[in-house]
Symmetry: C2
């Protein structure tokens, strides 16, 4: 059985829970609170020297951090990861894009507004601007297709869904992103779906 070290309010951790649930895998969830610095204890740093969650532990004790690397590992051979080389490259393109051009703005704006409750935080305006740029890139992609890669629901969709479906908690108004909203509903309609309840 897998063990996941994660925080229930985190979109990065939610990705792993969503995929394991949709794969029908049993797993143990160990709640780790970053706000209480539980990822910075000597015990946790032995598990992940980078001090971050989510962290996947295999039955034999091997440990894998980085949410999108965990998705790739778990999805291998399943319907959620394409088989052909080009489609897998496109999945990776969107997973890297999510971590570099989406999460640092949309997730961070959500953290500042929804958890720190600090709308006067000086970096929030820049994060909001970049977050809207990311939503525009998604809208452009989704205006011509049903899912991000090869017209089927993959881990690229799961990863991007994680923080997009709670983007309003970061102050983002999705009204003018019609293709994104349609896609959010399409992802939510997948079998064994679960939302990030927070």
């Amino acid at each position: 059985m897998y063990t996941v070290y994660g925080m229930s309010s985190s979109g990065n951790c939610y990705k792993v829970k969503l995929l394991l649930t949709q794969l029908g895998e049993r797993f143990e969830w160990i709640e780790v609170d970053t706000l209480k610095k539980e990822t910075r204890t000597p015990e946790f740093l032995k598990l992940n020297p980078n001090g971050k969650i989510p962290l996947l532990r295999l039955e034999d004790g091997r440990l894998l951090p980085e949410s999108n690397a965990i998705l790739c590992y778990l999805a291998e051979g399943s319907a959620y990861q394409p088989q052909d080389r080009w489609s897998r490259a496109e999945v990776l393109q969107w997973l890297f894009w999510e971590q570099y051009s989406h999460e640092p703005y949309i997730a961070t704006a959500r953290f500042i507004r929804h958890f720190l409750k600090n709308p006067d935080e000086p970096t929030l305006a820049q994060k909001t601007e970049r977050g809207y740029q990311a939503l525009a890139v998604m809208e452009e992609r989704l205006s011509k297709r049903t899912f991000f890669v090869c017209e089927t629901y993959t881990i690229a969709d799961m990863s991007l869904y994680a923080y997009t479906h709670v983007a309003e908690q970061g102050g983002f108004d999705l009204a003018r992103f019609g293709a994104v909203r349609t896609w959010l509903a399409r992802v939510a309609a997948q079998p064994r779906h679960l939302p990030l309840r927070w």
Copy 2:
């Protein structure tokens, strides 16, 4: 033949050049200057709506952005990408870590100091602190092994080498990171190596 849209001074673009060279692939390099906003022209945005380089074009016209997705695509089936599922997951772990916890600090500090020549930039102190945290994570990993994954030179090493071997341009002193310096020399000694000359 592959075409790479890239900027010669960029570590992200250099990764692609390094891998193609070590694979012995011929490629055309199209220089794109981000400082002149050449990635923001309507023509370039048609190629990559995210407005970023590097961008790989296949002979048939297909386009792939995101440096580390390009590395995974090009390395498939080569000695630079492990075959087994777990080792590939570990390669991805380090590729995602590079884009989230290393590049935003070490590459950005280099950009601010070396290209903008603006050591008074207000975010530089935070980027420097996080960059040193990234170097400490690398030092910890490399103190017990020769390369990042499965004791062979892979695309994880190429990706992390890109901005680490020019970290001094970002003001980082590698003196206390002995394992990192030994690893830099080990990467530079690989066949068909080329440095980022800038």
